[in-house]
Symmetry: C2
Subunit: 195 residues, 2 copies
């Protein structure tokens, strides 16, 4: 319980993804970053994917390469900036009313409160470049129906497959890209904010 809070708390900082964002931002490979930091590529991989927690000296080495302070990895986003919900991990709510259920609900985390909603059916064509990055106040929810879509926000790219969903603060520049060989379709719901 407490250990959950603990590891959860650490995970919330998303140290690994931040490192990955820094690295890909400079278009470096794990091996190259390894040679700069004196770390093995495998180690870096585990750090970036959150399989291990780097020691502070190790994190310091990485920070030095990118010219950032350690605080870079610990600035907390007040409310979680975004969340990806994979089809596999999504929880299907139990339907207790009927013995032979005729429907199911699966919760798509989407922090809207009182904000007006707009919904779109979006199609992204294969072998095209990313959409122009754009930003607008509010929150955006995307649910992928078919195909693969890459969403880039905050220097981080998230690849979503069919039935995956994700929400994010749309105030930060974000762009979409079809990353599969087939057309991708998705439902996009935008909750316009006022801040």
């Amino acid at each position: 319980m407490l250990s959950e809070t603990l590891s959860q708390g650490l995970a919330n900082y998303r140290i690994g993804p931040k490192i990955r964002a820094l690295r890909t931002g400079k278009s470096l490979g794990l091996t190259q970053l390894g040679s700069h930091t004196g770390l093995s590529a495998g180690m870096l991989s585990k750090i970036e994917t959150g399989q291990v927690v780097p020691t502070l000296p190790t994190l310091m080495r990485i920070a030095l390469v990118f010219g950032v302070g350690l605080e870079h990895f610990f600035e907390e986003s007040e409310e979680p900036l975004l969340e990806v919900i994979r089809a596999k991990t999504r929880i299907r709510l139990p339907n207790t009313t009927e013995t032979m259920p005729s429907f199911f609900f699966e919760s798509l985390d989407f922090p809207v409160n009182d904000r007006p909603l707009e919904a779109y059916l979006a199609e992204f064509l294969p072998r095209t470049s990313s959409t122009e990055p754009h930003d607008h106040p509010g929150v955006e929810l995307i649910y992928v129906i078919t195909g693969e879509i890459e969403i880039t926000i905050h220097d981080e790219t998230h690849k979503l497959g069919a039935r995956d969903s994700m929400y994010f603060e749309s105030q930060y520049p974000h762009s979409y890209k079809c990353s599969g060989d087939d057309k991708a379709t998705a439902i996009v719901v935008a909750a316009k904010g006022d801040e």
Copy 2:
């Protein structure tokens, strides 16, 4: 060389002193904090004194107790808030002009630029309480001639002995205290700032 930069860089964050400041600020003992964090008192002592670098999970535990985020330990003070220069570590500038030197210079780090100076000879009497904390814009330099003086600023107490010196941003509340059995004397130079 690089390893110096590394450990130096880590030390600059002064994680240990910050923990100690948090702990003493709540007037907790090492053992008490230990029971809250599940860490041994000895371990905490080593962390606070900088003998070991805590792992991030460990640091997280400590942060949770005080209700601060990890960024608390990594926010860097733009310009160093204060610096203590011990008599032992001070560098005596080589006097190259004379073969038999008649004088020496030792640099007392003191970041004044264009600010008007005031100088005082201060006496602090033994077995008296701290001076009232006070603050005023600028920088202050103190050079201890005799005795022992404790300077408290930012919840951290620095004990200076004879020939030690220290400067600090006087905009933060600070107080002096004679911590030895004998009268302490010191030169205090104040550079009044305008910010």
